[in-house]
Every structure is written in C-alpha cells, then in structure tokens.
C-alpha cells in the first residue's frame, strides 16, 4: 500500500471510531496537544489509561466476588474508570460507567455484574481499535509520511 492510501485508510478508520461512538471530542483534544516536543503524548496517555483500566477491572471483579459487597468501594473504582475514560475520550466505556454507578447506588448486584461484563467488553474493543490506529500511524511514519490531522 502506498503512502497516500495508508493516510486515507488512517483517516477513514479514525473517522469511523468517532462515528461509532468509541471516541469523542476529548480524543481530538489530546491529538491537538501533541507536538514536536511531545511527539508520543497521545500514546503515553492512552497507555496510562490501559494500565489503569486493567487494574480497576481486576479490582472490580474481585470486589463483586465478595460475600459481603462493598458498594462504596466499587463505586470509587468505577468513578476512577469513568474519569480516566473521559480524560482520553473513550466514550462508550464512560457511558457504561455511568450506568454502573447507578447500579452501585441501588446496591443492585445483578446490575453491577452486568455492567462489569459490558465495561470489560467496551474496554477491550476500544483498546483493540486504538492499538490498530496507532499501528497505522506508525506505518505512515515509517513510510516517511506525516499523520493527517
């Protein structure tokens, strides 16, 4: 594939992520903050999001396995996940977190377990998609091109 085709594929892919609601305006903000002084800014922040999310998802699973469920603790974890997903623009993850918090407030274990499954799913999707996006970027850079804005 030549450079122009790669760049087109990249733009189309990125656009689809917005259209399908995986990413929102905040992701654009991150890209706009990236510059020559910080050329890896977006990848760095997104990597932090991945690490944070994986830790939180594990904590959530553990917390929901307990005999006596600590909803406050669960809410605190979901609040964090909601915050970090919102900070990078991972819109679908953020939306599930909002529903998750409501179930926490209601102390509804079924609702919480459902949400955990959903948020795991959404997280896994957005992670795969962002990794693909970064891979495309890397291919463009390796081919000597620049990333379309």
């Amino acid at each position: 594939m030549d450079l122009v085709q790669l760049q087109r594929q990249f733009v189309d892919y990125r656009t689809s992520l917005y259209h399908e609601g995986f990413l929102d305006e905040q992701f654009t903000q991150l890209q706009e903050l990236q510059d020559e002084n910080n050329p890896d800014f977006v990848v760095e922040v997104v990597s932090l999001f991945f690490e944070d999310s994986e830790r939180l998802l594990n904590e959530l699973a553990r917390a929901l396995e307990q005999q006596s469920i600590d909803y406050k603790r669960i809410d605190a974890h979901v609040h964090q996940l909601k915050g970090s997903s919102s900070s990078i623009g991972a819109q679908r993850v953020q939306k599930v977190c909002i529903a998750f918090r409501n179930y926490c407030e209601e102390q509804n274990v079924e609702g919480c377990l459902n949400c955990l499954q959903q948020v795991r799913h959404e997280y896994s999707l957005v992670k795969t998609k962002l990794e693909s996006l970064f891979q495309l970027e890397q291919q463009i850079l390796t081919a000597g091109g620049s990333i379309p804005m």
């Binding site: 905040q26 903050l33 922040v45 932090l48 909601k82 915050g83």
Partner: protein, 166 residues
C-alpha cells in the same frame, strides 16, 4: 546570586491524585506557557508551598489548580486551608471535578475558588486562567518585597551589596 525573580512565566501548582489527569493538566498548562509543578495530594501541595513549616513562602506560586475528589484532603479542604492562611490566601485557586453537582460548585465558589472546571479540562478552560493571574501580579510583587525585607534581612543585605558601586 540573589536577584528579584523575573516574572516571564507564571507558575501554576497542579494537584490531582490521578496520574492521567496530572499528565493532561500539566500538558495543557505548559502548552499555555505556564511553568508547572504537579503533585498528587493536598498534603504535598501544602508541603510544596511551605505551609507545613509555618514558614514564609518558599516558592512563588501564582495559581493553584486542584481536583475536587481526592482521598484524604479534598480539593475543597485544600482551598479552605489556602484561604485561611495569611501567607497564601491571595493565591487564586481553581477547582476541577468530573461531577457536575451544582451544590458542590457553589460551595467551592463561595469558599473562595475563582473558577470551577468540569473535567475533562480543555484548553478553552485553561485560557480562562490568565485574567485571574494578571490582576494579582502587582499585589504579588508588593507582597514579596515586603516579605523579603521583614523575613530575610540577610537576603536584603546581599542585594544591597550587589548594588553597591565599589
């Protein structure tokens, strides 16, 4: 060499317990040409300011921007500690929160916060900081001169020595 610090860049102290948000706010502030120190708790913020030592201001901080929800000391607690301190009460404080709770916003503004930003914070929010910094500049310069003369006679003496011809 003891010289009056040139105020080419405003210094912002950013407080947030989340690494991602600290990285973000730091980048936003640096992009807007501020000098930034980022810490992960209210306690560390106070330590940085020198409040814990009941000392005069160790460093020049022109604005504090803090997350609301933090374990231990919340952003509101930090706000009140700053406003109740004779040395630091004039430093403008801005609060950030991911939750849009009107009563929380009001409480912070009534508690002395200049602005309340909803997360995720954007460049357009950071642009709102400059007026709060600009109107303080003259006050800071006067305060610092007064403090230097009262608290550090040695520093003052050194400065006079440099000015002496001969």
């Amino acid at each position: 060499m003891v010289m009056a610090a040139s105020e080419t860049k405003f210094h912002v102290l950013a407080v947030d317990d989340t690494l991602i948000d600290r990285k973000l706010i730091e980048k936003l502030l640096k992009t807007s040409s501020y000098q930034v120190t980022a810490v992960d708790s209210g306690t560390k913020a106070l330590e940085f300011l020198g409040l814990h030592n009941n000392d005069h201001q160790d460093v020049e901080v022109n604005l504090i921007i803090t997350d609301y929800c933090m374990p231990g000391m919340t952003g509101y607690d930090l706000l009140r500690k700053i406003k109740e301190s004779s040395s630091f009460k004039d430093i403008p404080v801005v609060i950030m929160s991911s939750d849009n709770i009107p009563s929380r916003i009001n409480r912070c503004l009534e508690g002395g916060a200049e602005e309340f930003f909803l997360k995720p914070v954007q460049l357009s929010d950071v642009n709102k900081l400059r007026p709060h910094l600009m109107k303080r500049t003259q006050t800071n310069v006067n305060k610092r001169k007064a403090m230097d003369e009262i608290v550090s006679p040695d520093r003052t003496r050194a400065r006079y020595n440099e000015l002496e011809v001969n």
